[in-house]
Symmetry: C2
Subunit: 389 residues, 2 copies
Amino acid sequence: MDQKCEPFIQTRIFCPGPTPVPLEAKLAPLDSEIYHRSDEFYALHLKCSEMLRPIFGCEQIPVILSCSGTGGLEAAILNLTAPGDEVIVVNGGKFGERWEELAVRYGCDAKVVKVASGEGARAQDLEKIMVNCRAPKAFFVQANETSTGVRHPVAELVSVLKEAFPECLVVVDAISSLGAHPLNMNADGFDCVVSASQKGFGLSPGLAFIALSDRAWSRLSPRPRFYFDLAKEFKGQSKGRSAWTPAIGLIQSLAVVLEKIHGIGLEAMIRNHELLAGAVRASLPAMGLELFAKSHPSNALTSILVPKGLDGTKLQELLRDRYGVIIPGGQDELKGKILRLSNLGFVSRFDLVHALSAIEFGLRDLGYGPCSGVGLGSGVKAFMQALDA
Amino acid sequence: MDQKCEPFIQTRIFCPGPTPVPLEAKLAPLDSEIYHRSDEFYALHLKCSEMLRPIFGCEQIPVILSCSGTGGLEAAILNLTAPGDEVIVVNGGKFGERWEELAVRYGCDAKVVKVASGEGARAQDLEKIMVNCRAPKAFFVQANETSTGVRHPVAELVSVLKEAFPECLVVVDAISSLGAHPLNMNADGFDCVVSASQKGFGLSPGLAFIALSDRAWSRLSPRPRFYFDLAKEFKGQSKGRSAWTPAIGLIQSLAVVLEKIHGIGLEAMIRNHELLAGAVRASLPAMGLELFAKSHPSNALTSILVPKGLDGTKLQELLRDRYGVIIPGGQDELKGKILRLSNLGFVSRFDLVHALSAIEFGLRDLGYGPCSGVGLGSGVKAFMQALDA
């Protein structure tokens, strides 16, 4: 650690992935004397699949893949589209861009709903794109665009889409959304939902989850695939048997966090995200700060505009090096312009008191008026007041 | 655990992956407050890449992928072949079969050197296949066929291959071989070597490693790929930056085991495998057992023929349930016919004393003469004598 950091401070991470990992989940893989081709492990794997199912709200078990979330996105493209397929992609930031890149890379005819940075996708923009579509095979969107802290109004978009193209498969990247916002594949009419371990699940990265509707399972594309062959995985995982050697340690941890999530209750998890993110947003004016998200702010993270005249990258480094608080900034063209304060996963009010306190000290150190002198602490106070409201 | 197991016995795993994980490597991920987009993590990732390089013996750093070994094999096919390419595949078991499946799935014209189960590939069989080749793009082989416990004579095969087809890329699946048998990409003239975390590296599964020669880097295929795009990964990883979110915890553990491997010395690691596997083989006659490998036995694992009249699956279950010793059996058509006792990775003579002792007790329980009465313990004794020779 940087020597400027007080020796009493322990580093804390407030990223929209990786998120904090509960101690009991970290400890599970210490027992590494387990073979993945054994009844004991099959039972553990199947238990994870069954516990994932209600979180996705799907008929069939979700498939667990040993890869990052991007591997899950690729699996969706490989299994549900064929070269030349017309698809609609919502691109409202770095992760929307990833859907677009994947679709183009794999030869799809991608019609892109371009969304202004920091805004949610608008139904009218989708309608404009749909005018030029013949029969789109699939619609790709982020439930939560992690790069801007915006939650797209997916239900509204899907309702517009289905009116014109009821056959179009709805594919939702819920990587940074699941557990933070309500989602139920069945009720919402989604055909494919992707998530990953290091997000709302509070694990280390290395697992992706992908759930398909019965409709999607019946329409797998003929494209060649091997590691990401979902039908093969599904068949085996229905009996707890992954096609390839799984990330055993992460599966052991997954069982622990899934028990924890079901113990808390999915609805209570989501309500906690709403409450905490709402209170963070409510605290910003007291620090003289503004939200970057111009509409549909996320409950998984808060995108905070760095005040004019301050260097966001310098603020980030200061928070990390002097206060041991890791808050990622903007990516690409948003670099230095925003902070992305996450409350995704197993995060409590006191974690955010910690983070907001550090932000205030950091802004004070940079000579930012509203957080200096008698202003210091106003943000934390406003956050607590908002929770008490 | 099964109730028949004495409560004092701790379960032990003797699989050719997953292999035992050193405690210090298990503990490294307990610090999960680390962001993968930070200088601290870039330095850790790059340090791993640099420490991997001498283990592969390659010019450029190997690429680290967050997936199982099979993902690494797919990456080799996707990056080095195009549809219609003629390739030669050695198939001497379940993993040779995987090369074949991958090549066929991705539209290669696969010429297969079929090897009898339990034998090493023969140069004359390769020559027969080569007669019908025009200009093979790549040659795919296992350094160690984990399913049969056989180590193919790769150097001999490659020398035959290169005489006729010097331009053919040599791609070696060294997943269960690296660290157990000598390998040096530069000296051996290999163009691509794949390995994985849960083998000689002594980690949990979830990482694959893939190293390319300069020649291979200059001949990447135009095939579309995304998650397994090696050029993109290589460019980023040269600065410690993986393209996608890496399995952070496994990278933390990897740094620990690589320090350990370099502390021991790669040559000493390999010598330990030679010594231990040699002594296991030497101990078999004392137990009335025979080696399944008819030629080129592996030093990573020993494939032991289950004595006639005994049910191998029952023996395996007995060892697991009564003695807490996990030794995998044969796969597919070898199911019930062999045991595959592994000494891959961080395994000592005392670990094998433990395993052999359990095998003897298990055979005695099944009424197998040579391990009963005064015979019991003869295998362990012979193993110790062999080490002392």
